[in-house]
């Protein structure tokens, strides 16, 4: 690991000033950043440790739930407000990483974590995300874990987070601070598709930082479920994961929210499937139909075509769990 300067931020403003300089990165939990620095995937000149900033709150607001960017994944997953209002988020968090990592990782850091693509991690391999212009190693290589939606010729990596899949389904908003003050962005618009710039994971601009997430109140708490399929029962990244949330009244779905992980460069929201479910009865048959709708634009590669078969099965299964049919 390259030597770097380490400073401890004392205010949001000083952090924003510091990260305006190229080569400066924020460190919070460090679970992803330190790993990447050890491998030489990233080599910042300076780290600004923001753990002392007052961004850990989990509070009820008039319209929903606010979670500070520095709230730990473990703390959020056990928080009584979260469990009561947004159990889907708790489930998604608990499906990720390990208890130790969740004790370190923050909500903001989780959003900023980078892909687990092997070609991104190995600095001797080509990767447009790590080193633009070197090519995509995964495209013609081992792409079992890779995207079936929204990939480009430049990159077929997936975003590895579980938490983000939950937040995408829950219509969350990201609160961002920068030189010009605060701005808010829909969670589903925070991460981006790779296009011609896979080096950019999200729409956070240079000199901006995440300060929190808002989740609007909803009627999904009773009928939500996070289902993650992986190569072992725990401590593994998703082959496919689904966050499913239903607002059911008298057996009829009033509203549905669905997002998938492990299938795209960003948490993949299934709007068409949600629409198809609205007004329908909460039955396995309807869930399967919605799952098929969700797969319309899927495109498989040499090793990941199985996801085209697996994903709808996971969607339907997650919906069954959410509806209490399992």
């Amino acid at each position: 690991m390259k030597q770097f300067q380490y400073t401890r931020a004392v205010s949001q403003q000083s952090t924003i000033d510091a990260i305006a300089k190229p080569g400066t990165k924020i460190i919070a939990g460090g679970t992803n950043l330190v790993d990447l620095m050890k491998r030489g995937v990233t080599a910042p000149d300076k780290l600004v440790d923001i753990n002392n900033l007052p961004l850990k709150n989990i509070t009820s607001t008039k319209t929903g739930l606010h979670i500070g960017a520095l709230a730990l994944n473990s703390v959020v997953s056990e928080n009584s407000l979260v469990l009561q209002k947004q159990p889907l988020l708790s489930m998604a968090l608990k499906a990720g990483a390990s208890p130790q990592l969740r004790n370190m990782a923050t909500v903001g850091g989780n959003m900023m974590q980078r892909t687990r693509c092997a070609y991104f991690f190995d600095v001797s391999m080509p990767c447009n995300k790590r080193e633009p212009g070197t090519g995509c190693g995964a495209m013609g290589g081992y792409n079992r874990m890779h995207a079936i939606f929204g990939a480009s010729e430049q990159c077929i990596a997936v975003h590895p987070s579980d938490m983000c899949v939950g937040l995408a389904a829950l219509d969350a908003t990201v609160i961002i601070a920068g030189k010009k003050g605060e701005r808010r962005i829909q969670f589903i618009d925070f991460h981006r598709l790779p296009g011609d710039h896979p080096e950019q994971d999200n729409h956070l601009a240079m000199g901006e930082m995440i300060i929190g997430v808002d989740i609007p109140d909803n009627n999904f708490a009773k009928n939500s479920y996070y289902l993650k399929i992986r190569d072992r029962q725990s401590y593994a990244f998703a082959l496919v994961s689904v966050a499913a949330a239903l607002d059911i009244s008298n057996g009829i779905i009033k509203q549905a929210r669905l997002a998938m992980g492990g299938v795209a460069h960003k948490p993949w929201r299934l709007f068409d499937a949600e629409k198809a479910l609205a007004g329908k009865a909460a039955t396995e048959e309807n869930f399967k139909q919605a799952a098929q709708i969700a797969m319309r634009d899927a495109k498989g590669y040499e090793y990941n075509s199985f996801k085209i078969k697996m994903a709808p099965a996971v969607i339907a299964e997650a919906l069954k769990h959410a509806a209490g049919l399992v």
Binding site: A118, F121, G141, I229, D231, Q233, F306, K309, E317
Partner: protein
């Protein structure tokens, strides 16, 4: 409440706890990288990024200038290794580190950066710039099977008629494939090397055999054996990866010499995938036929495994087909494909585990074709004598093992029709698979010292990679001497101690245990001589020493096998039973219940033996369900060289496991009647899982691992 009941039923806490357990649970046990030696320096290896070719240039200037970097060793400046001058300089021999510019595999060390701290060495290593002349590499076994060659002779075995299975009324012919699996012990391979002058060397080294390591190092560096001290007091697992001396160990010794300071080299987890061996990717084909009533007519078993271009590695892959069942006609062939990869090595259950996956899967397939219960099919072909030469077995209670396991798993609940049992949306299936492994015994020597206070010290140069060798030896001595275990100390893990074999091939309890038995017997005789006629067999040793004014009484004894091996065929046997649940839509597989039975003679140390069986079973579950080295053949490079992408089982994957023992002594192998169990704990397990998955789903996965994606994309096969 349910779990509590499970706990009470299965938790077996009787028997001697590990004699080194306290050191392990308090963090006081020191492994090879953990000796705080004055002036210690840190070495980090730089690996090749190409799989085949040669080094065109190496720029080490930047690395040498990095703060704290003391030296950068490459083939350009490496002090000559005297033993490396022998034999052919390249190819056809052990890979010689920093010897020349040839590249044999991706990840091969091309430089060692040594610095005054680990961080600085690691950074220095990132600053070494290598350029290569790249040749076309081959890392794909399947694409190169046409180049397969027999490692020695024609690699074939035959009894009876060749391919007789083809004439049988009921037959199966299938291909079975295992990927390469990595031992991946939790402890990274590590060595600290310290020279004392030009001709004396001490290493703290992760090795399964301190004396074999000593001999190898002495040979490589042309030192007198007595001038090489190898210490391996605690070994954080190995499973075969520390059976030999690897190039990184030589590198540390070279650097320590060049710097005249102690050098520590710890492999990275990524290095563990390329530099310390693995279970080789192997293609197998089995043809097996039987009469309608289930009598085997013939077995044909072909295997092609991968090896490296610079060294052949061979193992007993097809041996199980030769010896597991009474079958009149058997022919086997074994070949290797040399690839531009690191050399494989023995991994727990070595070739037998690979072969047993194929044979025991094929037998299961045959059982469905015959519509005969898999256990019954095995009983109808039970080998009463060794099928190859007809020798009697020294002991074999595999039939009892079948019964015990079947009872514990609830085999009667198994439906003979695959895919028919559904429990709350999960398909349920049962499978079984067995294995065998030669029961070996080497010579060993143990020194026993009875101290004035009645404490007994035993010393021998064995090392313990985890099974609990010290605990087993103390158990034997405790029983022999009639003194409590707390009064016995077992010294091991230093090459200067009396001779002991390398810990491998499930032979240590039989080998060293026999020497412990012998030395205790001899020590008691010495006491008898002191006491005179009529003394008790187990006297108060301290009192006897006091009466005779002796500070201690010591004796050194050796033990080795006699000609019993000429008369008897000696094997340990195992059978594994598994109940799985498979989610049909998502392909998720849950191991629901496991019962493993070992016929490994008398159980010397029940508590650690149970753990050893459970551990082997879990290794087998990993092999069956998740372990797989993946290459990107375009680059000849492994793309999952870490614990996030190369999956081994975690706690959530593993239920309570019933570890059962026939526990009947073998009358011939050694005085304790104990046979090995380290290998058989794993052999056959992968097939048990695969067979259970088939029983649950009707889907037969013949290429491991059985991952969810394979299950959901394959069709049901019903016979």
């Amino acid at each position: 409440m349910k779990e509590t009941t499970t706990l009470k039923k299965s938790a077996q806490t009787d028997g001697l706890s590990r004699v080194d357990g306290r050191l392990k649970v308090t963090g006081a046990a020191r492994y090879s990288a953990e000796f705080n030696i004055k002036g210690l320096t840190y070495g980090v290896l730089v690996g090749s990024t190409i799989a085949k070719g040669s080094i065109k240039s190496l720029d080490t200037k930047q690395a040498e200038r990095a703060p704290g970097v003391l030296t950068v060793i490459t083939h350009l400046n490496s002090p000559k290794v005297p033993g490396y001058q022998d034999g052919k300089p390249t190819g056809n021999g052990v890979f010689k580190i920093f010897y020349d510019n040839k590249i044999y595999f991706s990840g091969q060390p091309v430089a060692l950066v040594v610095a005054d701290s680990f961080e600085r060495a690691l950074f220095g290593a990132s600053q070494v710039k290598a350029q290569y002349n790249q040749d076309n590499h081959q890392t794909n076994l399947r694409a190169n099977v046409n180049t397969a060659k027999a490692p020695h002779g024609d690699g074939t075995y035959k009894r009876g008629t060749e391919d007789a299975w083809k004439t049988a009324p009921v037959k199966v012919e299938q291909e079975y494939i295992i990927p390469s699996d990595i031992h991946n012990p939790m402890e990274l391979h590590a060595i600290i090397a310290q020279w004392d002058g030009d001709d004396k060397l001490t290493v703290w080294d992760k090795t399964q055999g301190v004396q074999d390591a000593r001999d190898e190092i002495a040979q490589i560096f042309k030192l007198k054996k007595e001038n090489v001290q190898v210490n391996s007091k605690f070994v954080g697992g190995a499973f075969g990866s520390a059976l030999r001396t690897w190039p990184h160990e030589v590198a540390a010794i070279i650097a320590a010499k060049a710097l005249n300071r102690p050098v520590k080299v710890v492999l990275s987890r990524a290095d563990m995938f390329t530099s310390v061996g693995y279970r080789p990717h192997t293609w197998q084909k089995i043809g097996i036929g039987a009469t309608a009533d289930g009598k085997l007519v013939g077995i044909t078993h072909e295997a092609i495994g991968q090896t490296s271009t610079y060294e052949n590695f061979t193992e007993g892959t097809v041996g199980v087909s030769q010896s597991l069942y009474a079958c009149p006609n058997v022919n086997t062939s074994y070949k290797l494909v040399a690839l531009d990869v690191g050399v494989p090595t023995w991994m727990r259950g070595p070739g037998e585990a690979t072969g047993a996956f194929a044979l025991e899967s094929a037998l299961d397939e045959l059982s469905y074709q015959l519509n005969i219960d898999p256990i019954e099919l095995r009983m109808r072909n039970y080998a009463q004598t060794e099928p190859q030469g007809g020798k009697p077995f020294s002991s074999k209670y595999l039939d009892e093992a079948y019964k015990m396991g079947a009872e514990h798993i609830g085999w009667n609940d198994r439906s003979p029709k695959p895919g028919t049992v559904n429990e709350n949306g999960w398909l349920v299936g049962y499978g079984m698979g067995g294995g065998m492994f030669g029961a070996y015994r080497d010579g060993a020597t143990v020194k026993a010292i009875m101290m004035a206070d009645g404490n007994l010290i035993l010393q021998t140069a064995v090392s313990d990679i985890g099974p609990g060798t010290g605990t087993a030896m103390v158990s034997i001595a405790s029983e022999m001497m009639g003194i409590p275990a707390e009064k016995i100390r077992f010294d091991m893990g230093e090459s200067s101690l009396p001779q002991a074999p390398t810990q491998g091939g499930s032979s240590i309890t039989a080998s060293v245990g026999s020497a412990v038995y012998a030395v205790c017997k001899d020590l008691k005789e010495k006491f008898q001589q002191l006491i005179g006629n009529g003394g008790t067999d187990k006297p108060d040793y301290a009192q006897v020493l006091k009466q005779h004014n002796l500070a201690k009484l010591q004796v050194t004894s050796s033990a080795q096998g006699g000609d019993e091996r000429k008369k008897y065929a000696m094997f340990s046997w195992s059978v594994h039973f598994v109940r799985v649940k498979v989610h049909p839509a998502t392909g998720v597989i849950k191991i629901d219940k496991v019962a493993c039975v070992a016929d490994s003679g008398h159980i010397v140390s029940p508590k650690t033996a149970r753990s050893q069986i459970i551990g082997g079973a879990i290794g087998g579950i990993g092999m069956a369900l998740m372990e797989e080295v993946v290459f990107d053949h375009r680059y000849g490079r492994i793309v999952n060289n870490n614990f996030a992408d190369y999956h081994v089982p975690v706690n959530a994957d593993i239920p309570q496991i019933d570890a059962l023992f026939v526990n009947k002594p073998d009358p011939y192998i050694n005085p304790m009647g104990a046979k090995g169990m380290g290998e058989i704990a794993l052999i056959g397990m992968a097939s048990a899982v695969a067979n259970a998955v088939y029983n649950a789903t009707g889907k037969r996965v013949r290429d491991l691992p059985i991952t969810p994606d394979k299950l959901i994309t394959m069709d049901v096969e019903l016979s």
